[in-house]
């Protein structure tokens, strides 16, 4: 298939050998006519677009390439725009609207100057189903019930954004819980997209108690074709979560770490964390930590009766058998190593995620937690926190060199760091230094213990995930991978979050296109959420974005409503004392739909160029969320020509 690949071998030899490339019987490799596809996705969703590019070397005519796609019956005749490109210049490839037989197409770049030379690659084309979850506060019941939704939605393959169906579970732990075991059916709906990845997802369900007479509306902000941040956006509730391409509907298997957050029998904050191991039959074992509004129980074993049912065609199944989390849980598969979990008991609610441990299961060690950035919080518990830390992961090495050195550090490693924390009913800390110790067992189960506290934060459960998984964007295995799920296990606070490796604090790298989202609480107290897309320009740190604000209580903006045309403006100022920390003061939220701008005082912690966490530290407004690199915005002109299509 890859007819051009044999040209790559001598080219690689030339480079790797650092030779003059004039050898092999006088053959000068530098003069070889080479062609290769330098940019193409390995997988696409039907009907979506992606940039593809080919490089031609040593073509005196600079003829570029002609693009083609096979099988022609699936690809049609207008797959590429343009269908002829110069070397190194991208063409926009539109995937077939219906997945082809065999599930893949082959794209080929053929030299214009030497038509007998070409290079081909295969792209898998899938039907688009997306798994989603949100957690927040519902307004349509008593006005402040913690609620959760998890589900799967199927879209038409023609790129129109038409919703074909799906399933979901809704639970406010009080009066509205989707009927079990069937849950809610998603009957129809649509995904309308704007140019930069923002859009609106409407789901028409068969449950008249959810949304507006059964129809839920969500604001979405895609960061790539597979992943979006999502907020309920119909005034009946406000929440924050994730919408991710579903790449598997199989029964989960092997080791996972998980966290959930929700409300208990008195609608008090409850969080869970732990690990589980699922066998091929769905039986599972594991350990659960629970913090029910300060009543902390650690390390409860999952009973032997616990079992995952086989998932249905949407990847939805049940978890029964009396886990310490809830009487009845449902799960929705995202991919081979990720699934969402939702509590569907009538008297309480929670939603969360489980991430696989991969080949690292039973092989974790303290050294796995190195320099990291974390975000933790819980709007129902009035707080958000973010920070960065470095660990003393060298104790074991010291001990290996000298058995009498630093024995105590074998049991716990040390960390130091700096963080921002906003407890609306407690501490308000900015760039607050902290120290502590941590443990991480071979099974990935551990804890962070803050020596003198970090506000009210003292003990955080630590649940390590596969070092090749991106926690924020579970379909992205290429960057921002590794880390741990975290859950606060104090009598003082209950919240969940993530801890991910900090690999790049270069100020200049916090630049380009980003998708952002946050969940917050005002002093009222009432929840609000927002999301959007922004461009950060360096030097200078100008942050300019547009997005949607869900403020159904009017607590943030002073106006009850949802606002789809808000602007977000700030300047990201690096903290000279703490590389990786920025302040945005203010982050101005404006719209013609509410009276006056809202100025948030925001701190950002940079894990890498594509993953950052932010927190507002206003005395009367707490919020926390993430900023994620947006790769959709790279071809805005093409997207504008067909606004209902997502782009890559």
């Amino acid at each position: 298939m890859k007819r051009g690949s044999h040209w790559i071998v001598p080219a690689l030899l030339c480079v790797l050998g650092n030779a003059s490339c004039g050898g092999l019987g006088g053959l000068n490799f530098n003069d070889l006519f080479l062609i290769s596809i330098s940019q193409a996705p390995s997988r696409m969703v039907a009907g979506t677009k992606a940039n593809v590019a080919a490089v031609v070397s040593n073509d005196p005519a600079n003829g570029g390439v002609t693009w083609s796609c096979a099988p022609a019956t699936s690809c049609g005749t207008n797959s590429f725009n343009p269908d002829k490109t110069p070397s190194g210049v991208a063409s926009i490839f539109t995937a077939p609207s219906i997945p082809p037989t065999g599930g893949a197409v082959t794209i080929t770049a053929t030299s214009v100057s030497k038509p007998d030379l070409s290079f081909s690659t295969s792209i898998t084309i899938g039907s688009p189903t997306f798994s989603f979850y949100v957690a927040g506060v519902a307004k349509n019941d008593e006005g402040h019930d913690i609620y959760s939704i998890a589900g799967v939605v199927a879209f038409a393959s023609d790129g129109s954004g038409t919703v074909l169906g799906g399933e979901q579970d809704y639970n406010d732990g009080d009066r509205i819980t989707s009927p079990q075991p069937q849950g809610d059916k998603i009957l129809s709906g649509s995904l309308g997209m704007a140019a930069n990845g923002q859009g609106t997802l409407t789901l028409v369900t068969n449950n008249s108690k959810v949304g507006v007479a059964g129809t839920e509306t969500f604001a979405v902000a895609f960061s790539n074709a597979d992943h979006a941040l999502i907020t309920q956006f119909d005034g009946t509730a406000t929440s924050n979560g994730s919408l991710d391409l579903q790449t598997s509907t199989s029964l989960p298997s092997n080791g996972y770490s998980f966290v959930l957050s929700g409300g208990g029998i008195n609608s008090e904050p409850v969080v869970d964390g732990g690990m589980l191991f699922v066998d091929a039959s769905g039986n599972f074992s594991g350990t659960v930590d629970v913090n029910d509004a300060g009543n902390v129980v650690l390390g409860t074993p999952i009973p032997a009766t616990a079992v995952f049912s086989a998932p249905d065609s949407f990847g939805r199944g049940t978890i029964t058998g009396g886990t310490p989390i809830a009487g009845l849980l449902n799960y929705y598969v995202v991919g081979p190593e990720v699934f969402r979990i939702i509590d569907v008991d009538g008297g309480d609610t929670a939603v969360g995620s489980a991430y696989g441990q991969g080949n690292s299961a039973s092989q974790f060690a303290n050294a796995y937690i190195g320099t990291s950035v974390f975000s933790i919080g819980n709007s129902p518990d009035f707080y958000a926190a973010a920070g960065q830390l470095t660990t003393d992961a060298t104790a074991a090495a010291k001990h290996a060199a000298n058995a009498l050195v630093d024995d105590a550090a074998l049991a716990t490693n040390n960390f130091t760091g700096v963080g921002d924390l906003n407890e609306l009913d407690g501490a308000l800390l900015a760039a607050h230094p902290f120290t502590g110790t941590y443990t991480l067992g071979a099974n990935g189960y551990g804890a962070l213990s803050f020596a003198a506290g970090f506000g009210s934060v003292a003990t955080i459960g630590l649940y390590a995930v596969d070092p090749s998984l991106n926690i924020l964007d579970p379909n992205n295995t290429g960057s921002g991978v590794g880390g741990a799920l975290i859950a606060e296990m104090d009598t003082n606070r209950a919240g969940i979050g993530v801890l991910i490796p900090q690999t790049d604090t270069d100020v200049a790298h916090f630049a380009g296109d980003y998708t952002f989202g946050a969940q917050g609480l005002t002093g009222a107290p009432a929840e609000f959420d927002f999301l959007g897309e922004a461009t950060v320009t360096e030097p200078g740190g100008a942050f300019a974005g547009t997005g949607a604000i869900s403020d159904p209580f009017g607590a943030l903006t002073g106006t009850v409503g949802v606002f789809s045309k808000a602007t977000f403006a700030a300047t990201a100022v690096p903290d000279a004392s703490h590389a990786g920390r920025f302040t945005l003061d203010p982050l101005a939220l404006s719209s013609t739909d509410f009276a006056s701008p809202v100025n948030l005082t925001v701190t950002v912690y940079q894990a890498n160029a594509g993953q950052l966490f932010w927190i507002s530290v206003n005395p009367d407004i707490e919020s926390g969320g993430s900023i994620q690199q947006n790769t959709l915005a790279s071809a805005p002109a093409a997207m504008k020509t067909k606004p209902n299509n997502r782009n890559n």
Partner: protein, 209 residues
């Protein structure tokens, strides 16, 4: 042979004595207690000191110390799971007090200009002066909400704390009109009010005000 036994005994005794403060410093050691006094501890330490003073095997002391270095963390690890939170509880129920007074004002939703903690507040005139009783965000919202007016007598149970440089009475219970309203749980977590239909949100616990 006898001297070797003596050495071994000395090693064990001295290791136990030295291991005790090492583990105790980490806050991890659990000691058996009899009549309120440690079974081991002072006795062991005294024995160790006496034994060491009478020992003439000075040349073995380095061995003793080296072995004790290994002994200390064995205790520490064995008791590690008993490690307590490094912080005192945010809401320390052992410091709860009950105050009675007359409402001078009621704040349903604190605004930033009021310079109060988030949520609802009762400003209570007590015999000791005015008290800002913080109720959190949900005591006065929804079905079954606390409804009180200035001039009314109320009784509040909670903990006085300094939060963001302000003296605040973090309120767990409010007794008004014969009803006890549970605002927070025993750890100080604010409870969101729910309907009577959903679950009990106020408890009649006797008393009349």
């Amino acid at each position: 042979m006898t001297s070797k036994y003596l050495s071994a005994i000395l090693i064990v005794v001295l290791c136990m004595a030295l291991a005790r403060p090492a583990a105790a410093d980490k806050g991890r050691m659990i000691e058996a207690v009899e009549d309120g006094r440690p079974i081991m501890g002072e006795f062991v330490l005294a024995t160790a000191v006496a034994a060491v003073m009478t020992a003439v095997v000075i040349h073995e002391l380095s061995v003793v110390l080296a072995l004790c270095t290994f002994a200390a963390p064995i205790h520490a690890q064995a008791t590690e799971t008993t490690a307590a939170s490094p912080l005192p509880p945010w809401y320390d129920i052992t410091k709860e007090v009950t105050l009675t007074g007359t409402l001078s004002s009621v704040v349903q939703d604190a605004t930033p200009e009021m310079n109060l903690l988030a949520g609802s507040h009762l400003i209570i005139e007590t015999s000791a002066g005015k008290v800002d009783a913080s109720l959190g965000g949900f005591a006065m919202k929804g079905e079954g909400a606390l409804s009180v007016t200035p001039g009314q007598r109320v009784q509040v149970t909670g903990v006085m704390k300094t939060i963001r440089d302000q003296q605040v009475f973090v309120t767990r219970l409010v007794l008004a009109r014969g009803q006890v309203y549970k605002i927070r749980n025993e750890h100080g977590f604010v409870l969101r009010r729910l309907s009577q239909q959903g679950r009990t949100n106020s408890e009649a616990m006797g008393g009349r005000l």
